[in-house]
């Protein structure tokens, strides 16, 4: 057994095992680079900010509201509409359970950024849930999901390393794309989508693993701190940005936040204030933190901290940040790309899509190779049908399901109980239907036909999104293009672009199949997406 063959085997099987879940993670994770934009499209009721934020009149209202609705909260967090986020949101967290130590629940309310009035948008989990699904999945406890997604990421890491090892001419193949050769074009697509953004793939995989290491890699901290209280204290030391002050239990009125807002605004070098957070509001030991929105540089700024009762600013402490913490933070920021401007954000998005294309083309390639093997040897290959059906039902079925998530957002009745949850159910029901379609249809027809059917449906359903949007809301292309609202317009236009991509893929696949129909050995390997 040669080294190369062995590593090829490793690459093939880790890839096949991980490809469907990794595809799901790449697609949903990529949407996360536009989560705010998607959320905005999904909540057309929220008014757009018309002028600069009027803190002097709006903040006292917000304080009053928070005091009324959550007088005993452990935290307040006020999110201002800056940068990509158009939302003015009030958050509050209930006290943690003294018995179990379980952290309190966060609630939020969205406000009109112009008047401060409470808005009640439709119930939806928006772009945030879509993006969170890439590491918390759905219908399962978070820690289980972290284990599953980390396993997939580990398969990905091994796939990348073994892929580089077996890739003999990695630099030459950088730029080769042999479109006319059967099955070569799929291999080239696989290489292109894997090699060109390889630094991104390595970064996103490794940083993703690191972000979940507090669930998956417990041996090291447990060996050093034991499994008890000391480990939690170590984590707190690691994560806390400023000195944590325990609540004293003595009531004291909260300082006026608008004065701290003004003070911070003067120190922020012209950057807009993006959040105010209050630890232990209404307690004599409360702390107010004010941060601003910075779009340049990887290193996050340190927010300003104030005493929550007298409003005195704490002097910046020269606390040295360890190398490990810096590395962790850098990885986190690289993964999340919060610093990225529009251009870099699209690059992030398309690199993520390239990851999806890489794992998908790998899965397709596996099926093609087995099919060739089957034809040559005249044996039936176990699991080929299963893989082929999972391929179509996931690689085309998942985009269709996400389209259904958006359509459900427009079509589900506004008064439906648990509406936001039902949008998500629609996503998974649609995916299940596409998987079932793939399995059932491939018993009767060639799996190329199944691909064609799902590609056609994908094309139609993505084209339908802007249409349904136009019928059911006032933020359709006619309006958004007219007023130059490029965020909302881009969403609809991108859906049309996807419709085109799926349509073209279907057309090409059909043309290839028709050309080859005489010897009747239609081969997916001929088709290109």
């Amino acid at each position: 057994m040669s080294f190369r063959l062995s590593i090829t085997w490793l690459h093939t099987w880790t890839g096949l095992l991980g490809c469907w879940l990794l595809y799901f993670m790449f697609i949903t994770g990529s949407t996360g680079y536009f989560d705010d934009e998607i959320s905005r499209w999904m909540q057309p009721e929220i008014p757009v900010q018309m002028s600069s934020f009027d803190a002097a009149t709006l903040l006292p209202k917000a304080e009053e509201y928070l005091r009324d609705v959550a007088p005993d909260a452990a935290h307040y967090y006020i999110d201002f509409p800056v940068g990509r986020s158009p939302f003015y949101t009030l958050w509050w967290q209930t006290q943690s359970d003294p018995q179990t130590g379980r952290k309190g629940i966060w609630y939020n309310k969205k406000l009109d950024p112009n008047t401060g009035a409470i808005v009640t948008p439709r119930d939806t989990h928006g772009g945030e849930l879509l993006y969170r699904m890439h590491y918390v999945l759905h219908y399962m406890p978070t820690s289980l999901a972290h284990w599953i997604t980390s396993t997939a990421a580990m398969l990905m890491l091994v796939g990348l390393i073994s892929g580089v090892v077996i890739h003999r001419r990695i630099f030459k193949d950088f730029f080769s794309f042999r479109r006319r050769k059967p099955d070569r074009s799929w291999l080239d697509l696989h290489n292109l989508a894997g090699v060109l953004p390889l630094p991104f793939h390595l970064m996103i995989t490794y940083s993703g693993l690191i972000l979940l290491m507090f669930t998956t890699m417990l041996a090291v901290p447990v060996a050093n701190y034991g499994a008890g209280k000391e480990i939690r204290m170590a984590y707190d030391r690691f994560f806390s940005e400023h000195e944590v002050r325990e609540a004293s239990g003595n009531k004291a009125p909260l300082v006026e936040l608008s004065t701290l807002y003004q003070d911070a605004a003067q120190r922020s070098n012209g950057h807009p204030i993006s959040f105010i957070s209050v630890d232990n509001p209404g307690d004599s030991n409360g702390i107010v933190s004010v941060g601003w929105h910075v779009t340049t540089g990887l290193t996050p700024f340190q927010p300003l901290h104030y005493d929550a009762v007298n409003g005195a600013r704490f002097e910046e402490q020269e606390h040295s940040v360890s190398g490990a913490k810096t590395f962790y933070d850098t990885m986190e920021h690289l993964h999340e790309g919060q610093f990225a401007g529009p251009l870099l954000r699209w690059l992030y998005f398309f690199s993520g899509i390239a990851g999806a294309v890489m794992v998908a083309s790998g899965g397709v390639l596996w099926a093609i190779r087995r099919q060739q093997h089957q034809k040559a040897k005249g044996l039936s290959v176990r699991g080929l049908g299963l893989v082929q059906s999972l391929n179509v039902g996931t690689f085309v079925g998942l985009p269709i399901a996400i389209a259904c998530y958006f359509i459900a957002n427009r079509l589900l009745p506004l008064e439906l109980a648990g509406r936001g949850d039902w949008e998500v159910h629609c996503l998974f029901i649609a995916w299940l239907i596409m998987l079932m379609h793939a399995f059932v249809r491939s018993r009767r027809v060639d799996h190329i036909t199944v691909w064609q059917e799902q590609l056609l449906l994908a094309s139609v359903i993505f084209a339908a999104i802007p249409v349904i949007n136009a019928i059911t809301s006032s933020v359709h292309l006619g309006e958004t293009l007219f007023y130059g609202d490029w965020v909302l317009a881009s969403f609809d236009l991108f859906m049309l672009a996807l419709a085109l991509v799926f349509g073209v893929a279907r057309y090409k696949l059909r043309a290839k199949t028709a050309r080859q129909s005489e010897p009747c050995d239609a081969e997916l390997g001929e088709a290109r997406l």
């Binding site: 062995s6 580990m154 091994v158 390393i161 073994s162 693993l209 041996a219 090291v220 060996a223 490990a324």
Partner: protein, 94 residues
């Protein structure tokens, strides 16, 4: 590999389970060697574990035989754990 499915399964389990244990053991030993204070050494160790795990997996599949792969993992793990225990017992306590 196709000819010997038992060896294949053996290798796969060695990579998946053995590799995980071995990587964690190595990382635990490394936290005692790193010249930083304990908190950051622990975090560094955790972050390193994934690279060690990936290396272990690739190494298991590049070993001549499945037996050798198991042997290598066992020796590395045993050495790391012994090192850590000895350091704890006899090394200077912080």
């Amino acid at each position: 590999m196709r000819k010997n499915p038992t060896a294949l399964w053996s290798r796969s389990i060695a990579a998946l389970v053995g590799g995980y244990i071995c990587a964690n053991a190595l990382a635990i030993a490394l936290t005692d060697v790193l010249p930083t204070e304990k908190d950051s050494a622990v975090i560094s160790g955790m972050m390193m574990t994934f690279a060690l795990y990936a290396l272990a997996i690739v190494w298991v599949f590049s070993a001549k035989t499945a037996k050798r792969a198991w042997l290598g993992l066992t020796i590395t793990t045993a050495f790391s754990i012994t090192f850590w225990i000895v350091k704890r017992q006899f090394g200077d306590q912080p």
